[in-house]
């Protein structure tokens, strides 16, 4: 009897210790999420059946594809479900998970990770990062792809992240709650234009030989195509502007051959049609596209999607989602207008700007050439360039203008635009600071645009000078024109 009692006591104590350990572990597992990655939460927060287009791919897709710009151009709701070095089999698992809550009409797969250039990506980590976005069977499928010695720790957030105590400042930081609010980036990752001087040209190489693509990738792409066909979803590929090797080019062409055989359309930015308008010297900082490059890529993607698929918006408008897209595109447009050196592309972006633009043009007996006049037409302005011109553009329409002085009240603000400048409630908005090659430059140009929206308050975004040829130009732009980059 005594022995039985002892055995029972020992068993009970061991069970208690194990149970306590499991409970603590489970709690810590919920507490310790990865501090850096929560893309999956952003996607899961999207309303059910709201997405029209799903982008999948590597960091090249993350940095080049702006869902809010695509929404602005096409009205389509899209989400960029990409991550660094995201393997194609992982993209497939993302698609499977996405289809549980969404019914996209088009899936767009970026193909850098199928090319030899992916050697820069470490093997297991790509799959490891990918599985953070997933749940359930899709997560298990990804974990089954990685080195199984590491798989166990990545099945549990805590095992993978228990060292986070070393870097957090407060205990609260260990706990990263699941985000339930909509993200305003929709998967796009912003990259600033930082080092104009440090870029390199993207060269086009003609194909020299066939390339044998990775069998695992081809299998995943085939399965992706089957899944799309089964769900009446169109599938397309794209390859964003980036530095490439000859081997990459050969592999890309082999992939396009596969796409042709399997009736998959693709957009290749190394095609002459697109490349001539893209200059990697300005539009990509080092490896990925910056905001200017992303703006261009997104614009071209929008046109390609509209021309090739004719997708219509069938879902009901979600006000909160719409408002977020608008807000995000306004913020990013401001960056594009701010950073862009090419006046034509600046006006192209201003054309889509949804808020208020105040314009001051002082002629000083100069004139504008046809190219500049065409640029102005993009923002619905036409005037005699030998006279001064002051205007207010609201929601893309000129609501008021004058040739001597314009006084108008907007949103309880007294706005005065005359030869002396632009004044908001008496405060001058004439001089702006610009940064070129990391140097601050104070400017006041012949043609000034002041922007107002909820996101920034009466800021000068752009000052242009007019050169002797009657062209708009910005600081730095002439340098690149002279050196033949345009």
């Amino acid at each position: 009897m005594k022995r039985i009692k002892l055995v029972f006591l020992i068993t009970l104590k061991i069970t208690m210790i194990l149970l306590i350990t499991v409970i603590i572990f489970k709690h810590l597992n919920k507490t310790y999420r990865n501090l850096e990655v929560n893309y999956g939460d952003d996607f899961k927060a999207m309303p059910t059946n709201s997405i029209d287009v799903l982008f999948l791919g590597s960091s090249h897709a993350q940095y080049s594809t702006i869902p809010s710009f695509i929404n602005r151009k096409t009205g389509l709701v899209s989400f960029n479900m990409s991550s660094q070095c995201q393997p194609i089999p992982v993209s497939l698992e993302f698609l499977k998970e996405a289809l549980k809550t969404q019914k996209p009409k088009l899936v767009v797969q970026e193909i850098f990770i199928a090319l030899p250039g992916r050697k820069t990506c470490r093997a297991d980590s790509n799959y490891i990062v990918g599985q953070y976005h997933l749940t359930g069977q899709e997560k298990q499928n990804v974990l089954n792809m990685i080195d199984q010695e590491k798989a166990l720790q990545y099945r549990q957030d805590f095992l993978n992240n228990h060292n986070n105590w070393k870097k957090v400042k407060t205990f609260k930081e260990l706990y990263m709650p699941v985000k339930t609010q909509l993200s305003d980036s929709f998967g796009y990752v912003y990259a600033d234009t930082m080092y104009y001087e440090n870029y390199w040209n993207a060269e086009i190489y003609p194909e020299t030989q066939d390339y044998e693509l990775d069998k695992l990738d081809l299998k995943a792409l085939s399965e992706m195509k089957e899944l799309c066909d089964k769900n009446n979803i169109e599938l397309m590929f794209y390859h964003v502007p980036m530095a490439m090797s000859q081997e990459d080019q050969n592999a890309k062409e082999s992939l396009w051959d596969w796409a042709d055989k399997n009736n998959v359309k693709y957009l290749d930015f190394f095609d002459d049609n697109y490349h001539q308008n893209f200059n990697i010297m300005v539009h990509g900082d080092t490896h990925h596209n910056n905001i200017l490059g992303a703006s261009y890529v997104s614009d071209q993607l929008s046109k390609f999607i509209q021309n090739n698929y004719g997708l219509s918006v069938n879902h009901s408008i979600n006000q909160e989602l719409n408002s977020l897209y608008l807000k995000n595109s306004d913020i990013l447009l401001k960056e594009v207008i701010d950073k862009e050196l090419n006046p034509d592309l600046i006006f192209e972006s201003v054309k889509d700007f949804n808020s208020l633009v105040l314009v001051k043009y002082v002629s000083n007996n100069q004139y504008l050439n046809d190219k500049s006049i065409d640029s102005l037409k993009k923002i619905n302005i036409e005037f005699n360039s030998q006279e001064d011109y002051f205007a207010v553009i609201k929601d893309k329409k000129v609501v008021a203008y004058d040739t001597s002085e314009l006084k108008i009240k907007i949103d309880n603000k007294e706005i005065t635009i005359n030869k002396e400048g632009i004044f908001v409630d008496g405060e001058s908005k004439n001089i702006s600071s610009e940064y070129f090659l990391n140097q601050e430059i104070k400017t006041e140009g012949n043609f000034t645009m002041v922007f107002y929206s909820e996101n920034y308050n009466w800021e000068i975004i752009k000052n242009f000078d007019i050169n002797v040829n009657g062209e708009f130009w910005t600081k730095g732009f002439n340098k690149y024109v002279k050196e033949g980059y345009w």
């Binding site: 210790i17 306590i20 603590i24 810590l28 993978n160 228990h162 105590w165 870097k167």
Partner: protein
């Protein structure tokens, strides 16, 4: 060579029962359950089987050597028993030291050093010496002898337990003592905790200092931390071994007794790796005459013991120098203390002297470990040169975050407190007598600390014990 082929043809298909693995813990508990039989033959059989399984998980290659040593020892024991004589001392040393010397110094075939070779050869020698000195009787059952030599808790890195007590405990087990078994299990788990939470963390800091070009105070910190690392590493191993043996009903003694609280080197060696130092004392120092033949002989014997100890640890000049320096410093201490032994001092002064003695001894031992750590004297000199280039302590340069620095300080404070407690009390027994909620609160705290602060996961291998490679 055929043995090479044997090793590569017959690796174990099982996962090695590394000391810090949950498999080892489960294995111990399974053996514990099966050892509840009172019949000696059954117990011997079960324990032998457990030993075989343990060694086999590391590779059948290792089994060959322990089996070979066991057979040789068994046969030799009959000769020692029948023809006792002092001349046999050397005949005992020669074959075993030759085997050790082959693997450490003349391994021309580049064979893997058999698991635990240094430890079970010493156990075999101690068994034979005890027969020779009539301290133990010959064991006629070869299985019992094999069981002693291959006793799995002591296979990785000792302690070098004595045969007489082991045979007694194997053949005449005492009534099952729940508290004793519980203490054993707890000590084993404490050893794992010590290794994974404290030792490996300090090791990671030491490695970080080593991996960057640092000088001055940062090198000094590395030296002291390495000192702690080597202590924690070996102490944790010993705790796992002693705890698991205690769980199975075997008392194999203690191996460490707060060595860094020693106020001189002689005292230090009474507290550090006690099973090895007593082995050298009983079977080398005393055999050579000990301190009975005057100071000069005493110092010579001491030097010989530490030279052997040094070369036992490794096959480079560094280890020999390490042993020599330990001997030399003890000799100097002995001379100095003998000059002052008749001087009486006040208790408080004595305490102050004792305190400074502890500090100085720790510094001396730490610097001597430096010779132990590096492969060559040039590396040691290079490190010392860097130490003399002034650079203040900079945790950021080392690569430690603020939280890691706080944790490092906590670890050091905990270690000092625990060592002081261990010095004065039987900590485990005292702990077991604590009120139930206090004990269980401590268990829960330990689980949380282990899970959060433990160094595990990724590419780190916690089973890289330093002393395993001796």
């Amino acid at each position: 060579m055929w043995i090479d082929d044997f090793y590569f043809q017959f690796p174990s298909k099982l996962i090695p029962l590394e000391f810090t693995s949950y498999l080892f813990v489960c294995f111990c508990f399974v053996v514990f359950i099966f050892l509840r039989f009172k019949n000696t033959n059954i117990r011997t059989f079960i324990l032998t089987l457990a030993n075989l399984v343990f060694i086999y998980t590391f590779g059948s290659y290792h089994l060959v050597f322990v089996f070979g040593v066991a057979v040789f020892t068994y046969l030799f024991s009959f000769i020692v028993d029948k023809y006792p004589g002092k001349y046999l001392y050397f005949s005992i040393y020669i074959p075993f030291f030759s085997l050790l010397a082959y693997f450490k110094y003349f391994n021309i075939n580049n064979l893997i050093i058999p698991l635990g070779l240094s430890f079970y050869t010493f156990k075999a020698m101690s068994y034979l010496f005890d027969i020779l000195n009539k301290k133990n009787q010959i064991e006629k059952n070869p299985i019992v002898l094999f069981c002693y030599l291959s006793f799995f808790p002591t296979m990785i890195a000792g302690p070098i337990n004595r045969s007489k007590k082991f045979f007694e405990q194997l053949k005449k087990p005492t009534e099952f003592n729940y508290l004793d078994a519980k203490s054993g299990a707890f000590q084993m788990l404490l050893g794992i905790f010590e290794k994974i939470v404290f030792c490996d963390f300090i090791a990671s800091v030491v490695n970080r200092i080593n991996s960057v070009e640092l000088f001055g105070m940062n090198i000094l910190l590395m030296i002291f931390l390495y000192s702690l690392q080597i202590y924690l590493d070996f102490d944790s191993l010993s705790n796992i071994a002693i705890g698991s043996a205690r769980l199975l009903g075997f008392d194999i003694g203690i191996n460490f007794k707060s060595p860094y609280l020693a106020n001189n080197l002689k005292n230090f060696w009474r507290r550090w790796h006690i099973s090895l130092s007593t082995w050298f004392k009983d079977y080398v120092y005393i055999f050579l005459g000990g301190s009975r033949k005057g100071s000069l002989i005493k110092y010579l014997n001491l030097t010989i013991v530490f030279i052997i100890s040094g070369v036992w640890h490794g096959n480079t000049l560094n280890f020999l120098l390490w042993g020599l320096l330990h001997a030399l410093i003890q000799i100097i201490e002995d001379i100095v203390f003998s000059l002052f032994k008749d001087i009486k001092v006040h208790k408080v002064i004595s305490l102050i002297i004792n305190f400074f003695g502890i500090i100085i001894n720790f510094i001396v031992v730490s610097f001597l470990w430096l010779i132990f750590k590096y492969q060559s004297l040039e590396q040691v000199i290079s490190v010392l040169e860097k130490m003399f280039i002034f650079q203040k302590l900079d945790f950021e340069l080392i690569g430690l975050t603020q939280n890691e620095v706080y944790w490092l300080v906590c670890v050091i404070i905990i270690l000092v407190i625990v060592d002081i407690l261990r010095h004065h009390y039987q900590v485990l027994d005292k702990f077991n007598s604590l009120f139930f909620p206090i004990r269980w609160s401590f268990y829960i705290l330990m689980i949380i600390v282990f899970l959060i602060f433990g160094v595990y996961g990724g590419t780190f291998n916690s089973n890289d014990f330093i002393y395993r490679w001796f």
